[in-house]
Amino acid sequence: MSAAITILGQHLLNGVLIGCAYALIAMGLTMIFGVMNIANFAHGEFYMLGGFLAFYLVSLMGLNYFAALPVAVVLVVALAVILQHAIFRRLRDAPMMTTTLVTIGLSIFLEHVALLLWGPQPQSIPTPFPTKPLSFFGVYTTPLYLFCMAVTAALILVGHLLIRRTRMGKAMRATFQNKEASALVGIRIDRIYMYAFAFGAALAAAAGAVLGGFIPVEPTTGGIITLKAFVVVILGGMGSFVGAIVGGLLLGLAEALGAGYMPTGWKDAIGFFAVILVLLFRPEGLFKRV
């Protein structure tokens, strides 16, 4: 009996670990979607770049692991700012098909540049954590897993506070609700867009850098990550940050438990079935827009 509980506990812990990651990535996507009204198909590529840059900083340039993570994120943010300035600034009032096609093109572009620069080999980031597992009542985890959970949870909290408490966050939410009115009261829309895009990219890159320690990153990883992020966002309600967080955790847990007690081949399908159910019975998602 207690063995079954231990196994359940293990599945739950696995689910929370992955769920935190999903939540973080989906928050970034929601940020970009919510403020700029762009479905960022290149979101997974920000995750991938975060991972790869962290890998190169640590393994090839010998940078300290804890320094490399923020540096990798800053580099991706720099890229995001450049992209916003060069491309997305022009798409402020563009139709949805245009913006979507551009992000799809961007996704392909970044993936193949990564393939060209770094080859298809998957890389995991060398971490300074001891690899010996820790166990609590028979449930196993490692210092690295705990670090991942702590960092992702912290970033989610930071993101949440940013949206809710700061002036910037309020400005973003205002833009989100009514662009014209916000512009009229003096909110600089271009600035807000830049912050939203940069922050969204930063969250994805952070997830990639942190998780890259135990989930190898390869240039083609972006696609699956984007898909999972979209699933979470639809489940949680497009444009709701709380929805992204709760949706991410729920998806992680659902996948872990589903895989744990069902044939594992269909693990990924859980999210997709959930999306269809949501669409049929509650199209706005589980949470309303913020």
Binding site: N37, A39, M97, V102, E111, G223, A269, F273
Partner: protein
């Protein structure tokens, strides 16, 4: 010669050129590329209906192509149905799948619609990969064949050679083109465009966006399914790789860069973007980087696409048929 006369001559010249391809081109490799182009012409014409004319970005189209391929393959492998039965069945089944999917998602708009189409495609890929009992998963379904053509008086004609199969695909592409042209030139086509340009106005006139989008969605899917069937029998093999996102990408490039909403644009796009990647075989990653860049630049600065405007430019002003479809 009069204008109409010159126009007729030009059209005739194009037809003759298309029919003469296998007589002039003997290189099997190039014939192979022409055949694959033709298959994609059928598929992207269908995509143009929903993306170009109704204006909804569906990323499920490549999945419909693959579903058509698998349907035809399964009917061949399990029931020994030849392509003559398999193709219409594939088109029909794919259309039904689109009907089911559409009834759930065509009421949503905006980004949610686009994302759902991606989710659907991914789900189909999982089914193809995991439902091993039916689809044999990764092992795929090999051994598909091109059937013989039975004509009264002439008996069974072998059409499996590239020279001959080219004509099969040519006929399919021409039929698809005229079918789509008939749709877009009819009142249905005008309603598509009205929905694209001003949906609230259309609704207020009693034109149901849901119903007309559904027509485009199902018709487009059926064409994709038919194309998939042709492809499956020609290549001889289907596997879950057909559900890769790369097919979505290339079809989008064909339609967008070809010129969405023009039929001819995407058709030319299909040919160009079948030949181009093969000719640029060596530069694999650079090739995709360049395509992606062109896609971004064209979307930003050339919303009417590249190919169609170019072709239109070459056609004398007097001949240009007012194209109601072009965006």
């Amino acid at each position: 010669m009069s204008d109409t006369g010159r126009q007729r001559l030009a059209t005739a010249a194009v037809c003759v050129a298309l029919f003469a391809v296998p007589l002039v081109v003997h290189d099997e490799y190039y014939l192979h590329l022409f055949i694959v182009s033709g298959v994609f012409v059928v598929a992207v014409l269908g995509l143009d209906l929903i993306v170009g004319y109704v204006g909804q970005l569906s990323l499920a189209h490549a999945a419909f192509f693959a579903i058509g391929a698998y349907t035809s393959a399964l009917l061949f492998v399990r029931l020994q149905w030849t392509m003559w039965l398999g193709l219409p069945s594939a088109a029909l089944f794919t259309g039904l799948v689109a009907l089911a999917l559409g009834s759930v998602i065509l009421r949503t708009r905006g980004h949610r619609f686009i994302i759902i189409t991606v989710v659907f495609a991914e789900l189909m890929r999982l089914v193809a990969t995991n439902w091993v009992d039916v689809t044999r998963g990764f092992m795929g379904l090999p051994g598909l064949q091109v059937p013989k053509l039975y004509l009264p008086g002439l008996g069974a004609i072998n059409i499996a050679s590239k020279e001959r199969f080219y004509y099969v695909v040519l006929v399919a592409a021409v039929l698809a083109y005229f079918a789509c042209r008939a749709i877009v030139r009819s009142s249905i086509g005008r309603k598509f465009v009205l929905i694209r340009e001003n949906e609230p106005l259309a609704e207020s006139l009693g034109i149901s966006a849901f119903r007309y989008s559904m027509i485009a969605f199902v018709a487009g899917a059926a064409l994709a399914g038919a194309a998939g069937s042709l492809y499956a029998h020609y290549v001889g093999f289907v596997s879950p790789d057909l559900f890769n996102f790369s097919y979505v990408t290339i079809m989008l490039i064909m339609v967008i860069l070809g010129g969405k909403g023009t039929l001819l644009g995407p058709a030319l796009g299909a040919v160009l973007f079948t030949f181009l990647p093969e000719l640029l075989r060596e530069a694999s990653h650079w090739r995709m980087i360049i395509f992606a860049t062109i896609l971004i630049v064209a979307t930003l600065f050339m919303p009417r696409g590249i190919i169609f405007p170019l072709v239109e430019h070459l056609v004398p002003r007097r001949w240009r048929v007012r194209n109601a479809g072009a965006a």
